[in-house]
Symmetry: C2
Subunit: 200 residues, 2 copies
């Protein structure tokens, strides 16, 4: 169902290129000309696949937002508060490790934030960031807890995009991010991790 016409191929190559350039120069610092040049086509050819630059930005952001949304729903279905936090945190960290630069873009680029807040208020009213923080902090959290969660949420995501850690392998990075997150959220050190990708 996806072995791909030339168009689908160009489209996905375009999104890969866009994500790479967005991470290097920011969304607003990346021109359609740069994307077109990297792909070896003209600006207008890019416009065939996407009607606006915002649409490209949205398509780049979408997969991560969707995954976050799924993790949130899974976490909310769990019974104990501890299990909810554990699942949300480990899922979040897993996403950071797997996508690296994408999650940091969500917090470090005004251009992509504008698009996310406008395009993904769906499917459950509030935006993903708010909902994720709500799962981690619980209902009516104290100010201290709300702030700690905010620090964790933004801080962890930014590590994924930091060039200093680009060379660290996934398992090591995931372990350290989890440890930092648990410490700040006041969770006990865990023995057996809640593996997010069971058969890996």
């Amino acid at each position: 169902m996806t072995a791909g016409t030339a168009a689908t191929d160009t489209r996905s190559r375009l999104l890969d290129t866009a994500l790479k350039l967005f991470s290097e120069h920011g969304v607003e610092g990346t021109s359609l000309q740069m994307i077109a040049d990297e792909l070896g086509v003209t600006k207008a050819a890019v416009y065939y696949h996407f009607k606006t630059k915002d649409e490209i930005t949205e398509a780049v952001a979408a997969p991560g937002v969707q995954e976050l949304d799924q993790i949130i729903e899974e976490a909310r279905a769990l019974r104990s508060r501890g299990a909810q936090i554990d699942h949300a945190l480990s899922g979040f960290v897993e996403l950071i490790v797997r996508q690296r630069s994408l999650l940091s873009l969500y917090n470090s680029d005004p251009g992509i934030q504008r698009v996310i807040n406008r395009a993904f208020r769906t499917p459950r009213g509030e935006d993903v960031k708010t909902r994720m923080k709500a799962v981690l902090a619980g209902e009516n959290p104290s100010l201290a807890d709300a702030i700690a969660v905010h620090v964790v949420f933004t801080g962890l995501a930014m590590v994924g995009g930091a060039p200093e850690y680009a060379g660290i392998d996934d398992d090591t990075l995931r372990e350290h991010l989890l440890e930092a997150g648990r410490r700040l959220l006041g969770r006990p050190r865990r023995k057996r991790p809640d593996n997010h990708l069971p058969g890996r």
Copy 2:
């Protein structure tokens, strides 16, 4: 010595306006036209006070960078590692609370980061962010410590710019940021804070 010609006044009003607009729309999302309109002058008038947009960005970023630099040097002059960390952390938090949006800009805007990395490699070789993280993490830190420091540094700064906490008073915010920072850095809870502005 500074009661002010019209020019100095326009210049400082311009920087205030720029910071406000940068925080709302990002550096690259803010046009010289917006700044000019807000001041009631023309684009070319703005261009009289600053030769380029980068120069405006640099002037907006400068005070915070300078203060960070001073805090770092003060901390490095202390004898014990604990005192160094305490001073660097409390100075950093104090700056976040006092400037709110400015410090979050440093971490959340590709435009201002470009300018900071290019313009403020002075006065001591490495950039301020790297040097601050070095003070907090010590020499040859473990990967776990380096990552924890990275999370604290970016996470705390982002809270200052978060609209959710714009209404919180300075003392309360400072207290919670310090608490979160100390917990993540593994510092004991403190009794008497290292007051950064003694007579306040």
